[in-house]
């Protein structure tokens, strides 16, 4: 058996290919991006011509995956945690329609916010939608869960969530592959009205979903990934969810953990195992990555039951990523360091690359708005968000993808005029267009600057679905052609950019300024890819 050294995200990609998918649908987002990138260049995926192009956003990705499932085939859909907020509408409704071909939603959470605006725990979406959640503890389980997840999905006729976090996503370990399964044939759903959520049908399907809950529970009790490990010291019982299991075991290298353990990797929680643990042990410690979902469920409000320890009780930090040291402290074990971080070590936050065109836009914008004062630049998510930091200090907000345009609109409606939106090209096609339509419909006095580096740069330089289309999109939604301006963000064009921004700022309606220059990292990436293709 040969082991391949795969990142967690790569293991998921490989598990999906081997599990017989006909398509992957996704929008990039750390730490989920490389699942799709792995499939995009995998020779087997290329040979089978598995669908593997990026979608415009997570909602379109999820819906397309659901369409593939409708047609009887298996689809994987991938996103980061905040992406599932965007896709929440199709997700929740697909829990009611159910699926036809297997559908696995791989969603990657980012506790500690290494590369995100917030921390969220996508297991809640599993509870919310009342569908199974698989949470691997290692790369091999990630592979196996996707590989088997499509069958689970087809058996229950429900979408299945695979929930990972940054650490597993971006850590490598040996993974053993299994035989490739054939893809499903094209086939319409047995019930032609399965995907018709008219209230009369929806009420019936919702009852069906409620009816599946006991079967889901039974499957969790029997799942190979859920285990009861009995051990002699009953003063404490430990529940480990997903990757937390490893942090526990790290504390007992070369020895047995003295306490009984329930390892949870498939939800709904295996009730019988957890009840057995509760009856056998004096106290329960819950180790879970993300929110205290299990802990809260087990804790009783009036504090009359057994003591439940975890992130809520203070045994573990309430926020941020777990690690073996947090777990050691929760177990009352000593954690010792021989050395401290010396005071000379300065923070090194990420920064815009030298030569990046975003810089030139910010230098021009700062000059153009000098006279009107600060607090009017609504921005968005991408490399350009780094314009909030020194030495630019150019932007005032970053909330969720697309919010620059709509927040600028709301602020303008409130009387903050002029107001600016600064948005990247990929963010614009993700969620900016609809907001621009709102502005056009009311001829709101906003200036939208689209930073068009012809790439999804922040996540590594993927193809942007906006490429070559932005002027047409803006004109198409009704922005007046004379107020769609194009500039090239280069130092030598500084004065021109300042002039264009000032002119449009003074136009009492919707203006769009497109600052177009390719991302320098993207140019390098394209070169590397060409070289790789040549080698192959």
């Amino acid at each position: 058996m040969s082991r391949n050294l795969l990142l967690g995200v790569e293991a998921i990609g490989q598990g999906a290919i081997d599990g017989g998918i006909s398509g992957v649908y996704a929008y990039p987002g750390t730490p989920s991006t490389e699942i799709t990138e792995y499939i995009q260049i995998n020779p087997e995926a290329v040979r089978r011509n598995i669908h593997r192009q990026w979608s415009s956003n997570e909602k379109t990705a999820y819906e397309a995956a659901l369409g593939m499932s409708y047609a009887g085939k298996r689809a994987l859909v991938c996103m980061k945690h905040v992406g599932l907020n965007v896709a929440a509408d199709p997700f929740m409704n697909s829990c009611v329609t159910g699926v036809h071909g297997g559908l696995v939603l791989a969603v990657a959470d980012d506790p500690s916010m290494h590369s995100s605006q917030n921390e969220q725990d996508s297991r809640f979406f599993g509870k919310f939608g009342m569908v199974p959640v698989l949470e691997p503890s290692d790369q091999q389980e990630a592979y196996d869960m996707v590989y088997e997840g499509f069958e689970l999905s087809e058996k229950l006729q429900l979408p299945v969530i695979l929930r990972i976090t940054t650490r597993l996503a971006h850590s490598r370990s040996g993974v053993v592959n299994r035989p490739v399964k054939p893809e499903n044939n094209l086939k319409l759903p047995g019930n032609p009205k399965q995907f018709l959520l008219l209230p009369a049908f929806a009420r019936k399907y919702y009852q069906g979903l409620l009816g599946k809950q006991s079967e889901m529970l039974q499957l969790s009790e029997k799942a190979v990934w859920n285990r009861y490990l009995d051990n002699p010291d009953k003063s404490l019982g430990i529940i480990c969810c997903g990757i937390a299991y490893n942090y526990l075991m790290e504390n007992y290298v070369g020895q047995e953990c003295p306490y009984p353990v329930v390892k949870v990797s498939q939800y709904p929680m295996p009730e019988a195992m957890i009840k057995k643990l509760e009856t056998s042990c004096d106290e329960i410690l819950v180790l879970e990555e993300g929110f205290p979902l299990v802990e809260e469920q087990l804790s009783d409000y009036f504090g009359k039951g057994k003591k439940i320890l975890g992130r809520l009780s203070g045994a573990l930090p309430r926020a941020g990523e777990l690690n073996p040291d947090h777990v050691a402290r929760a177990l009352g074990r000593e954690v010792k360091s021989s050395f401290q971080v010396p005071g000379v070590v300065a923070n090194r936050p990420p920064a815009l690359c030298q030569g990046c065109g975003h810089q030139d836009v910010y230098y021009a914008l700062n000059v153009a708005i000098e006279e009107i004062g600060r607090g009017r630049v609504f921005s968005d998510i991408g490399c350009y968000t780094l314009g909030a930091l020194q030495p630019y200090n150019s932007i005032d907000t970053c909330v969720d993808m697309g919010a620059s345009v709509t927040m600028a609109k709301g602020a303008a409606d409130a009387g903050l005029i002029p107001s600016f939106a600064v948005i990247g090209d990929s963010t614009f096609t993700h969620s900016g267009i609809t907001g621009l339509i709102d502005c056009v419909n009311e001829n709101t006095n906003v200036t939208v600057i689209i930073l068009d580096n012809e790439a999804v740069a922040m996540t590594g330089g993927q193809e942007s679905s906006a490429k070559g289309k932005i002027e047409d999109i803006c004109a198409g939604v009704g922005v007046e052609p004379q107020h769609i301006r194009l500039v090239v963000p280069l130092k030598k064009n500084h004065d021109e950019m300042v002039r264009v921004i000032s002119e449009e700022m003074n136009h009492p309606g919707v203006s769009v300024i497109i600052a177009r220059r390719p991302c320098i990292q993207k140019i390098a990436r394209d070169k590397r890819e060409k070289a790789r293709e040549k080698e192959a």
Binding site: R3, L5, L7, T30, P31, T33, E34, H114, S115, T166, R167, L168, A169, H170, S171, R172, S173, G174, I243, N246, Y247, M249, E250, V253, G254, N323, P324, D325, A328, V335, K336, S337, S338, F339, Q340, V341, P342, V344, V345, A346, N347, R348, P349, P350, A351, L352, C353, C383, L386, Q390, P391, M458, T459, G460, E535
Partner: protein, 196 residues
């Protein structure tokens, strides 16, 4: 047997090329391995770190516990100090001395050097300079790997084979250049350890 390595640097410096080689050597030997990497936002010039864990038993945690790292291998001197709480009492810190200054408050190098010299086991070398002298300016990471190699429990033969495996598709010239860089780094540490 286990060896826990912290690889440190700045996004864009390519610390994962080092991890790939050590990882290949470990797999070749049938050892277990976990390697946590930094992807995402920090790759844009921020501090990046990789936890590389190798053992002859299955590795549990993807992260090295505090005080558990046998080696800190850094391609940038200030970054080598950022992870000191993870170094075991008798662990080795091996770092490049060429600074990467992309922040306004980057400290004075002599201050960094002072901290490094306080450690019981440290190797500080100018890998960039050595690589340039070898006519392989992009080989500084291989120089660093060589400098750390006495503490990694792989033979030169095993390491050189791993370098070959990783770089083979780029041609024999590239393999040779990298093996030479590795050897030059190794020579620096060998000399130092003898003096020790």
């Amino acid at each position: 047997m286990k060896i826990d390595i912290i690889l440190a640097g700045v996004g864009g410096q390519g610390i994962l090329s080092i991890a790939a080689i050590v990882g290949a050597a470990a797999i070749e030997k049938g050892l277990y391995l976990k390697q946590a990497e930094t992807h995402g936002m920090s790759q844009r010039g921020g501090a990046v770190v990789s936890n590389l864990r190798i053992a002859d038993y299955p590795v549990s945690s993807d992260l090295i516990p505090l005080g558990g790292a046998d080696v800190i291998l850094s391609v940038e001197p200030m970054e080598s100090l950022r992870y000191l709480p993870y170094l075991t009492k008798n662990g080795w810190l091996v770092t490049n001395s060429t600074t990467f200054e992309n922040i306004p408050d980057y400290p004075d190098f002599t201050e960094i050097e002072k901290e490094i010299n306080k450690l019981p086991h440290a190797v500080l070398l100018d890998a960039d300079k050595i690589a340039k002298e070898l006519g392989n300016p992009r080989g500084s990471n291989m120089v660093m790997l060589g400098a750390a190699s006495p503490f990694l429990h792989f033979s030169d033969q095993e390491m050189e084979k791993a370098i070959e495996n990783i770089f083979r598709r780029k041609g024999q010239d590239v393999v040779d250049l990298n093996i030479n860089a590795y050897k030059a780094g190794r020579a620096v540490s060998d000399k130092l350890i003898k003096v020790d």
